[in-house]
Amino acid sequence: MKAYADRAVVIRTWPLGESDRIVNLFTLSHGKLRAVAKGARGARSRISGLVQPTSELDLLLYQGRELDVIQQASLVQANMARGGVDPAQFGSAIEWLEAIDGLTLDRHPDPVVYDLMNRGLRMMFDEPSPTLLGALLIRLLEREGYAPNLSSCGLCGRTNAAYRAFDFSSSAPRCSGCGGEPIPPGVLDLTFEVLNHRVSGVLATHDPQIGREFEGFATRLVKEVVGRGLRSSAVMASLADNHRSSG
């Protein structure tokens, strides 16, 4: 059976040849994979409007020798792939998708990550919160087995201390006198709440400064796992700055 149907979210695309696109997909049943959307850059393509980052699609794919080929696509949810995209929301969504791309393995289906990815994209559009991206990244790290261990100091093992520093290489907090990098107050509390599945309280935080600090902490944790920083983070920062100054 070479043709198969699946539901997928488009992570990113690249131009291929004259009018095709390579599409990086996170599918529900086959995990992350790359497929070719033939003719998707042409004005008269039936799928050019659908094959956009963040859109969720029902796909019929055909197994190719190297890359699978998208044969049919229908829209489930456009998410950000619509007119009048807010640049800051767009930046957050792309950063979220880049983190998923970096933290997940090819062809390893995970319905929990799929659901988390989709809910995250919808919430970025429908219920934006300064702490949303940070919370999503912590949940994703936890799901992939990279959650920070907040139970004790990573060096001396002391528990219930007021941690003000963090060692990113061992992904553990440090109490005073045990070194580590200084981290903003409150960031570990938010992380602890997310890891204990009390996300609604975290999302109720409306302070943009706390949101940025939490997001910076989470993206740094992702960087340690992926081995490089998220490229979209720097762009996201400049988009958010402009959003703040124009707002």
Partner: protein
């Protein structure tokens, strides 16, 4: 297997966009078959294009002079600037011969996954062109991809204080296209951008 000079030619050709090893081999063998005169003509054309082509200092389109043919043309409408992503988009508009204004080439779109932010685009130069009373309208003609849309929204906010009219290129059903073959997102955008007939 091939002589060293021919292998080198194939290697260089295969670096070009859209040319794989097979195509590079075919082109190289074709050039060798055609003889040195044709090769000389091609080499001269390549060198001349690479040496003489530069960016227009106003719009950043491609030109052999400091100012491109469009910017230097007093007969064009200097009150309208069409903002596009790449020089090839200028050529697409010029082929249509329906736009008589000026252009501004951004040099790409905001693409976070590629690390391309507003700083990498020719935005400051665009704002400079909007100073004074000459320009009355800016048409945002970035592509209708999610990156193009985000760039257009970003630009609209950036340009708004200049007090010029800002418009966005329409998106929707292609001329001659059958509605049944139009995807859901495009059709939805076409509905949003519908216009009154009477």
């Amino acid at each position: 297997m091939y002589p060293a000079s021919l292998s080198k030619l194939m290697d260089e050709l295969s670096r070009l966009p859209g040319i794989g090893p097979k195509s590079a081999q075919r082109i190289a063998l074709f050039m060798v078959k055609r003889g040195p005169q044709d090769a000389q003509r091609l080499a001269e054309a390549l060198l001349a294009a690479a040496a003489n082509t530069k960016r227009c200092r106003e719009c950043f389109s491609l030109s052999e002079e400091d100012l491109c043919g469009v910017c230097a043309n007093a007969g064009r409408d200097h009150s309208v600037i069409c903002v596009v992503e790449e020089p090839r988009d200028v050529l697409a508009f010029e082929r249509g011969m329906s736009f008589r204004g000026l252009y501004h080439v951004l040099g790409g779109v905001i693409s976070p996954m590629d690390g391309i932010g507003p700083e990498q685009l020719h935005l400051g130069e665009l704002l400079n062109r909007l100073r004074g009373d000459t320009v009355k309208e800016v048409i945002l003609a970035t592509s209708s991809t999610i990156e193009g849309e985000a760039t257009a929204t970003y630009l609209a906010k950036l340009i708004a204080p200049a007090g010029v009219n800002i418009s966005r290129l329409a998106t929707g059903v292609p001329v001659g296209g059958d509605l049944d073959y139009v995807d859901e997102v495009t059709l939805s955008r076409a509905l949003d951008g519908r216009y009154r007939v009477t």
